[in-house]
């Protein structure tokens, strides 16, 4: 391969953080913090350099050849199998990495944002115990995420997929001494596992149907298999994979873990729960677009789920008071946007939004982290206010990000959101309306957040007041960089209608399957004027949201409370997140535990009781009759042996009287029995 040094060495990209993680987890305890920072941030930096180099070199290739693959070794050569056609084939999954336009975007974002967040963490985590552990986990996360992205096949992607889940678990539970943190970590892992089950099954089905799980071979295999649009099996694969995506990317119905995940340190929220990991689901759906596009049903499901999640999460975000939780719901909502995009066939728009969202949402989280840092750990917005002048850099960058997420042109969010809404409208106006309202809500709650935090009257407690300080440079520099990116990040996707060239969409185009039948119509031509109208509408509603937030949270702060009292039902519903957690607990979690309890009892009493314990069936029958059956079997042989004596003894005891005549009589009886046994034989010859 002579594609260039970096392209030939893409396998090194995940390896640097892996090495960093290994060093940390094995020897970290004895290392100085400075060394830890150097190794971990350094490894990510090197990764970033390699990633950037690789992307650069990929761009240098002609558009149709932008695909490189490196196979390191045979990983799971599990022997022979049948494919769906009943043919014999060898199952052999290699440890193979690849780079193409789709994941080059991802790898760039991940290493880039990841690097910034690592740098930020140096400052943010500087005073925490378990510094090495934190960085070790972070590096491990980078490794997993990069494996996920760079994997050339589904199984290896699944490695990353589970790996990031694990790191998420470990990092959410970083403060493991806090029960809520540990609970949240567990919840995240288990909910994700449910999704993973879908991925696993989807993978099996893909392998069976297409005979391959190599991403690059899927499209040719589909072509070779002559699958019709709407083939049920494709729908099945798509939906199974989408289950996984809903888990990882926090979509309905598996989004519940993400708000709780805010228990983790803020850089973790920024990196994992905003910028990178949660987008894995989006990435996977985009990656498997060849399959999804064959299934209108699945696409519909994706779109509707996305739209529903978007508005649902946004509505919950309206009333939250925890600064990170607002952002968490915002993330869910934005992920919903991305799925909406994917579902309507606008894969490039989805990925585009993924990228811009990574920039501004990472920025928002880091900013909020900076705020929290300044507030000595306070996260409740009701105890903030008027911080603008006290932490100016944070505030300004935060404001930029807020504008970006609100979709104010020409910031990054505007372009990506606009692309999505445009595509959605073409698919279905209803989806557009939902997205449009969500946009308004987004603008509202984000500005509610900004207003409550940085403007208005200070509600900061006195002791916290003293400590308020701007964060160190290691934290503000990443903020600034991200702010810049939040501004300019969207420009590479400057739409044609505004005089741009849609460079981003063209770049991604080779990885998107193009079937002759028009499915989403996302990329279909449409008139510029109509597009202008849509843009105008979305900017308008964003401004409306901003105005409302300003009016309610700066000018007339009593209004929200009045509203909350007047609409107390709705308020409580929103505030309590529609009681979904409670419903899940009641329906699934507790029922599972109950089932476990019941089965445990069943196991002890029934299964163990049947034909076992030396006494067998007789024991059980007798024990049933004799009321104290339960105690009987549970107490087991120890007590049983005494009782067995009683049970078995009676027939024997009855006859074993010790009296000779009795024994003699028994002999007589035996004789009678034996003779009786033969008397029928004796009778036989007597005609």
């Amino acid at each position: 391969m002579a594609n260039g040094y970096f392209l030939d060495h893409i396998w090194l990209i995940p390896l640097f953080p892996a090495a960093g993680a290994l060093v940390m987890l094995l020897f970290g305890k004895r290392l100085a913090n400075a060394f830890v920072s150097a190794v971990c941030v350094g490894s990510v930096a090197v990764s970033f350099v390699y990633a950037a180099g690789a992307v650069w070199q990929l761009l240098a290739l002609p558009a149709e050849n932008r695909y490189v693959q490196t196979i390191l070794f045979d990983w799971v050569p599990a022997g022979w199998m049948h494919n769906a056609a009943g043919q014999l084939m060898r199952f052999n999954v290699p440890w193979g990495l690849m780079l193409d336009p789709l994941n080059s975007v991802m790898v760039f974002v991940v290493t880039g944002v990841g690097l910034l967040i690592h740098i930020y963490s140096i400052g943010y985590m500087g005073h925490e115990g378990g510094y090495y552990r934190f960085f070790g986990y972070m590096n491990l996360f980078m490794f997993s995420m990069l494996t996920l992205i760079l994997a050339n096949n589904m199984l290896l992607m699944f490695v990353g997929w589970e790996g990031v889940g694990l790191c998420s678990y470990l990092l959410i539970g970083f403060y493991f001494q806090k029960k809520s943190a540990a609970d949240a970590g567990k919840k995240a892992f288990i909910v994700n596992r449910i999704g993973d089950a879908g991925v696993l099954l989807g993978m099996f089905l893909t392998l069976g149907v297409l005979g391959t799980i190599n991403f690059h071979e899927i499209a040719p295999a589909i072509a070779a298999g002559h699958f019709e649009v709407g083939a049920p099996v494709m729908t099945a694969i798509a939906l199974l994979l989408f289950v996984g995506a809903t888990g990882k990317s926090a979509q309905i119905p598996l989004y519940v873990w993400l708000p709780d995940a805010m228990e983790g340190p803020t850089p973790v929220s920024a990196l994992i729960h905003a910028a990178t990991m949660v987008t894995a689901g989006v990435y996977m759906v985009a990656r498997m677009n060849a399959v999804f596009q064959l299934s209108p049903i699945a696409m519909g499901v994706v779109a509707v789920t996305g739209a529903a999640t978007a508005i649902f999460a946004a509505s919950m975000g309206l009333v939250q008071n925890d600064i990170k939780r607002v952002l968490a719901y915002s993330t869910i909502s934005q992920l919903g946007y991305m799925f909406l995009a994917l579902g309507v066939g606008a894969f490039t728009a989805g990925i585009f939004h993924l990228m811009t969202h990574a920039f501004f949402k990472a920025l928002l989280f880091l900013g909020s982290g900076s705020v929290i840092h300044a507030m000595s750990g306070e996260q409740d917005m009701r105890k903030m206010g008027a911080l603008w002048s006290k932490i100016p850099t944070t505030a300004k960058t935060f404001f930029v990000a807020t504008l970006a997420i609100a979709g104010i042109p020409p910031l990054a969010g505007f372009f990506s959101k606009d692309a999505i809404l445009g595509s959605a409208f073409e698919r279905s106006p209803i989806l557009w309306v939902v997205g449009w309202i969500t946009a308004g809500m987004t603008a509202f709650y984000m500005f509610r957040l900004v207003n409550m935090t940085f403007f208005g009257k200070s509600r900061v407690s006195n002791e916290a007041e003293h400590h308020i300080h701007e964060s160190p440079a290691s934290m503000t520099i990443p903020l600034t960089v991200l702010a810049v990116l939040s501004i300019i990040g969207g420009w590479i996707g400057w739409p044609a209608s505004l005089g741009g060239s849609d460079r981003f969409a063209k770049f991604l185009s080779p990885v998107i399957a193009h079937y002759s039948v028009e499915l989403g119509g996302a990329e279909a031509a449409h008139s510029n004027s109509f597009e202008y109208f849509l843009m105008f509408a979305s900017v308008l509603i964003a401004l409306g949201g901003i105005w409302l937030a300003r009016r309610w949270y700066v000018n007339r702060p009593e209004v929200p409370d009045q509203l909350a009292t007047r609409w107390s039902g709705a308020y409580r519903l929103l505030y309590n997140k529609y009681y979904v957690d409670q419903i899940y607990d009641a329906l699934f979690v507790n029922r599972t535990k109950d089932l476990g309890t019941a089965l445990g009892a069943f196991d002890r009493n029934v299964i163990d009781g049947v034909g076992v314990n030396g006494a067998g069936l007789l024991t059980r029958v007798i024990s049933r009759i004799s009321m104290w059956g339960d105690k009987w079997i549970v107490d087991g042989l120890v007590n049983l042996s005494a009782r067995i004596v009683w049970i078995f003894s009676w027939p024997v005891r009855l006859i074993q009287t010790g009296v000779v005549s009795g024994y003699a009589l028994m002999i007589v009886l035996g004789l009678i029995a034996l003779l009786g046994y033969y008397l029928h034989l004796v009778r036989l010859p007597v005609r």
Partner: protein, 513 residues
């Protein structure tokens, strides 16, 4: 006293050459030897100081030794010259009888070894006991060698009466008295039933010779009522001796009450001899009507296993537990006979199985009792499960051997008991007795449970008894020998299987229906 004279003559004849060629005498020389030493013990007992009563045992051992030597030569002889009969065909010296006689002698020797100290402790250390043992052995040997109802009957009675006395040998012990009296009353009663059957057999054939009777039975219609009546009564009499359900009830009481050495001897030798007799009769006289007794034996066997196993579970007295366990073993052996009698030509594996089983059973049961015997000391009978507590600390060797015996009794490889069960199961399967086989196999489970209660006490319970268990050399020897045989027959069973196969007494050729 005629036999005494006879024997004296023979003794000299052996050494002085004349009468050496008396065929009949040559054939019963092993028994003669035993009788000689038995009587010698009776005579010399008066001369032996109370402290040196073990000389009696040595005499007895010598007798057994000589007898065994002669028996071995006899075996060589029939190996070379073929099966031989003697005394007008009233005895038959064949492989079958050689095998069993050897087994009796071995068992007797081991019991003698175990008795020495036991009788000392019981303060009943009389020469009579050893003499009775030798006489009982004579009886047993004639039981298996007998080819004539009268010889068999007299042999059986000689054995039985010796045992009545040995059971009651502890005259001042109430349990011993009671056991002896019970055993005698029931034994005599069952002998009456047996001999009633014998009388009918005689009535069927006008002969007491087994071959003649077999011929007569063969030529009668298969459902001849008298044959069946004879079968029932003879079977009942023998079932009593081997303690098969429902004729088993004496066994637990007698086992418990008798001196432990007698119990051991009774459970091993008496059972084996009665089994030999039963086999001999069922393979000759009743062979033609085997289709009738197969089912009967199956029922009795299952009943024996059921009662034996279930009752044994609850026992706290080891001797009693072993009594019930031996009842269940009887069930297994009878199953072997069921298999042996099934099918057009019978099943040879069944017979091998019986021989191997009896052989194994002799040593493993003897070993188990031996452990109880060594526990006996002044003030402790040692037959309760609690008495075994912590045996592993008090005498590791005895405990380990006890484990081996228990495993063997339960039929766990690699011990002799397993091979016995192996053959029984195999033969049952081969003769399509699937349900019997499953029954028999599953009964191993409760059996293991009660055998392991013993193990639990010996290994897992803490000892409440500070006294160390000591073994005298005789006991050690007996224990080691039984342990060795049980283990050897499990690990390398080939020679033992050969031995069992050697012993096969195939039903008379022309009679196989």
């Amino acid at each position: 006293m005629s036999v005494f004279l006879h024997m004296l003559v023979n003794w000299f004849a052996l050494h002085f050459g004349f009468l050496r060629d008396n065929h009949d005498l040559n054939m019963v020389k092993p028994q003669l030897m035993l009788a000689f030493f038995g009587i010698a013990i009776l005579l010399t007992d008066f001369l032996i100081e109370p402290g040196q009563k073990y000389f009696n045992a040595i005499f007895a051992l010598m007798g057994v030794g000589f007898s065994g030597t002669i028996l071995y030569q006899l075996g060589r002889k029939i190996g070379a010259e073929g099966v031989q009969d003697a005394y007008s065909s009233t005895v038959l010296i064949d492989h079958f009888s050689i095998f069993f006689c050897m087994l009796f002698l071995a068992v007797t020797a081991l019991i003698i070894l175990l008795s020495i100290r036991y009788l000392q402790i019981e303060e009943e250390n009389h020469g009579e006991f050893y003499a009775l043992m030798l006489f009982a052995t004579i009886g047993m040997m004639f039981m298996v060698e007998g080819l004539d109802l009268i010889v068999q009957f007299i042999g059986l009675e000689t054995m039985a009466i010796s045992f009545y006395i040995m059971v009651g040998f502890l005259r001042r012990e109430r349990r011993s008295n009671e056991a002896a009296l019970k055993y005698l009353l029931l034994g005599a009663f069952s002998s009456g039933i047996l001999v009633y059957g014998f009388s009918l057999l005689y009535g069927l054939s006008a002969s007491t010779n087994l071959q003649d009777i077999a011929n007569a039975v063969f030529h009668r219609p298969p459902t001849n009522p008298l044959v069946l009546l004879a079968l029932v009564t003879v079977a009942a009499g023998l079932f009593f001796k081997i303690a098969a359900v429902p004729f088993h009830q004496w066994a637990p009481d007698v086992y418990e009450g008798a001196p432990t050495v007698t119990t051991a001897y009774l459970s091993v030798a008496s059972s084996a001899a009665s089994f030999a007799l039963l086999l001999r009769l069922f393979q000759t006289v009743f062979w033609p009507v085997r289709e009738h007794w197969v089912g009967l034996l199956g029922v009795v066997a299952v009943a024996s296993m059921t009662v034996g196993n279930l009752a044994a579970i609850t026992q706290t007295n080891i001797k009693r537990m072993l009594a019930y366990s031996s009842i269940s073993h009887v069930g297994y052996i009878l199953l072997g006979l069921v298999a042996a009698g099934s099918g057009p030509n019978g099943n040879q594996n069944g017979l091998t199985g019986i021989a191997f089983y009896i052989f194994a059973y002799a040593f493993m049961n003897l070993g188990a009792f031996a452990v109880v015997i060594i526990l006996r000391r002044k003030g402790l009978i040692g037959d309760e499960l609690e008495d075994l507590n912590g045996l592993i600390h008090r005498s590791p060797m005895a405990a380990v051997l006890l484990l081996i015996f228990m495993l063997s009794l339960a039929g766990i490889p690699p011990t002799a008991g397993f091979l016995g069960k192996y053959y029984i199961f195999l033969s049952l399967l081969q003769t399509n007795h699937y349900y019997l086989a499953i029954f028999a196999a599953l009964y191993v489970v409760p059996a293991l449970y009660y055998y392991f209660r013993v193990v639990v006490h010996a290994f897992l319970k803490e000892s409440t008894d500070p006294v160390k268990v000591t073994l005298n050399p005789w006991q050690t020897l007996a224990l080691t020998v039984s342990g060795f045989v049980v283990l050897a027959a499990g690990i390398y069973p080939e020679p033992f299987i050969k031995l069992a196969n050697y012993s096969l007494f195939l039903p008379f050729g022309p009679l196989g229906r």
